[in-house]
């Protein structure tokens, strides 16, 4: 027999897409919104140009990294193509004291947090497993084990609570934490436990789910039969869906949720409805499992194009702006290329460093064993 897995009461998820918060249409038209407009009323044309710049430059970093992988400079890359607005919108809603816990795909959030693009490459080149200092940018290391970071974020937020860094009204003190994860991740026990911990402890954490419709080859229907933002309601905190390709809407809803957190009002879930326009990673071949037409459909919703259209239509930019940005973009990419190639390979014995803060003698003996072994070649002509 064929198992009928369709939810009789709810039908196909795509067929019943709920309202999503949108402030900028794919055509670049500003959609007024009674509430969310107030959250971005301070945003000037200059700011929007800034957001546009973020989108363009972070995409450029991403595409350069894809190219570097093709050239053999990186072992792998997880492209965020198509998800720039979700990442820049939420990333720019963060205050310096806020803290972000990413997956492996939050390159534009990293950009917003001031992490050097080159630093992102180490993990994918295979020279390290995270080369930036999370204490500097309040941007945690990339986490590959799906969902694990959502508990870290929640625990971190519990620490923030204990430090009295919420609800004081001091905008430079009150601190929110944001946890990034994908649609696939929502199926992991850890993510659900994070929801529970956060709600029971009323922790200042925002769960930011980039629903890019795919977990590698699995479409959203394999993870849920209702829109993901609704999960939050079952755990007792607010959840909403935002147009993840609309940087203004993402900014507005993130600001709201982060401020709730900073004010001590607890967690929220944001489902940024977006699309993974590229492959899952550079080793993936999406033509095996999805239709080209789908991609075309989403290309029309491109997160960058709509901001460009808005800027142009509103006469908020001139050609010079675009030309400058192009130049900046190419320079960034060029620097990235150069810096990537210059990333040094680690020393063999470096693998014994930082296994422990206080390394035991037994491990140091293994290090010496390796060093001696390697020396034995140096003494000879070379390896046999």
């Amino acid at each position: 027999m064929t198992v009928d897995t369709a939810a009789t009461s709810t039908g196909d998820p795509a067929a019943r897409e709920p309202e999503l918060v949108q402030l900028l249409t794919p055509e670049g038209q500003r959609v007024p919104h009674e509430y969310y407009d107030t959250l971005i009323e301070d945003i000037t044309a200059e700011d929007i140009r800034g957001l546009y710049r973020d989108l363009v430059l972070s995409r450029r970093i991403d595409s350069e990294a894809v190219a570097l992988q093709r050239q053999g400079e990186l072992g792998l890359w997880a492209s965020m193509l198509g998800q720039e607005a979700a990442q820049v919108g939420s990333g720019r809603a963060l205050r310096p004291q806020d803290h972000a816990f990413p997956t492996y795909r939050e390159h534009a959030v990293a950009w917003c947090r001031g992490v050097e693009a080159t630093q992102l490459l180490g993990l994918f080149r295979g020279v390290d497993q995270g080369s930036w200092d999370p204490r500097e940018n309040n941007f945690h290391l990339y986490t590959i084990v799906i969902g694990a970071q959502t508990l870290h974020a929640t625990g971190y937020a519990m620490g923030v609570q204990r430090d009295g860094a919420i609800g004081t009204g001091d905008p430079e003190r009150d601190t929110a934490v944001i946890a990034y994860f994908g649609d696939g991740a929502t199926s992991q026990g850890d993510v659900n436990e994070a929801f529970i911990w956060a709600s029971v402890n009323n922790a200042p954490v925002v769960f930011f789910c980039q629903n890019n419709q795919w977990a590698i080859s699995e479409p959203l229907e394999r993870q849920t039969r209702v829109p993901l933002y609704r999960r939050a309601h079952g755990f007792g905190f607010p959840g909403l869906r935002v147009d993840g390709n609309d940087v203004l809407a993402c900014l507005a809803v993130s600001r709201e949720a982060l401020q709730r957190a900073r004010d001590g009002e607890g967690p929220s879930l944001i489902e940024a409805f977006t699309y993974r326009m590229g492959a899952h990673t550079t080793t993936d071949d999406p033509t095996r499992y999805r239709l080209a037409a789908d991609l075309e459909h989403w290309r029309l919703k491109d997160p960058i194009e709509r901001v460009k259209a808005y800027l142009v239509r509103g006469d908020l930019v001139d050609q010079q702006f675009f030309d400058d940005l192009d130049a900046e973009s190419e320079e960034l990419a060029g620097n990235l290329r150069t810096a990537c190639r210059a990333l040094p390979d680690p020393e063999p014995t470096s693998i014994f460093e930082h296994v422990y803060v206080e390394p035991p003698p037994t491990l140091l003996a293994q290090r010496d064993e390796m060093a001696q072994y390697l020396d034995s070649f140096a003494e000879q002509e070379g390896p046999r």
Binding site: L123, Q129, I144, S187, S217, E218, P346, I351, L363
Partner: protein, 338 residues
Amino acid sequence: MTDTTPASAEKPASARLTVVKAINAGLRRSMENDDKVLVMGEDVGKLGGVFRVTDGLQKDFGEDRVIDTPLAESGIIGTAVGLALRGYRPVCEIQFDGFVFPGYDQIVTQVAKMHFRSGGRLRLPIVIRIPYGGGIGAVEHHSESPEAYFAHTPGLKVVSCSNPVDAYWMIQQSITTDDPVVFFEPKRRYYEKAEFDLDAEPELPLHSSRVVNQGTDATVATYGPMVKTCMEAAAAAAEDGRSLDVIDLRTLSPLDLEPVYQSVRRTGRLVVVHEAQRTLGIGTEVAARVTEECFYSLESPVIRVTGYDTPYPPARVEDDYLPDLDRVLDGVDRALSY
């Protein structure tokens, strides 16, 4: 069989297959032979798995038998337990070695113990396939060798194939086993090829090791991806006039050490080789047992040539972490220098 499985009928009995294709063929055979056999995991359906090990199976056996699961390993193993209790024989894929741990509780507290707890009334014929090991330039969590975590767990059987022929037979043997089997696939040997007869009988039962090179000077015991490395080492040693007995352990729990004991009684020296970290790795158990059994024959302590006791390192330095031909030979030298 039926028209749901057209591919196999046309397939020639003898074929030249990679490890990936051999496991695929073995899965296909098993599914043809027993319609209770299911394949489940992340991306195993339409995509055919990230390594294409399950390629084409969903197309031929349908979505009920080849299940793209939600993204959660505990869910994969836990629902496989339920399916097994209902009479199915689930073959679960864990996408990469480092991602088995969210499913570890279900494996250790449920899968391993159900037969025992039930006084033998319940059986869980579940196979958990895990592509494992390094040497492929991957990012963290994608190159680990967690086999000892399973071999330390009573109630589980643990095997690792090292070549296409074994891959083909061992997956089928694992599926017909009524005990749960953790099946480790040497991912960096996935594209090694061999020509063999798909319709022959398996040469050996599942839980048996095999002498893959005959020698007299020292014994090398290994498994999975390191078998090839050790064979290369044996070839290099032969050029230097040294002959090595190389044993492919194949089964890690239970261990089948009789051939190792026999060899060590002749050679007096044993080198155990694996990628996993040294402390409490499989080599440790082999060393302890061989020392217990062959105490008077050993002329040197058992030498463990393994990964180091560090997390799996970044790809650009993995070659220094992993045992290679030279480190195996160095181990042999050390054994012989006693």
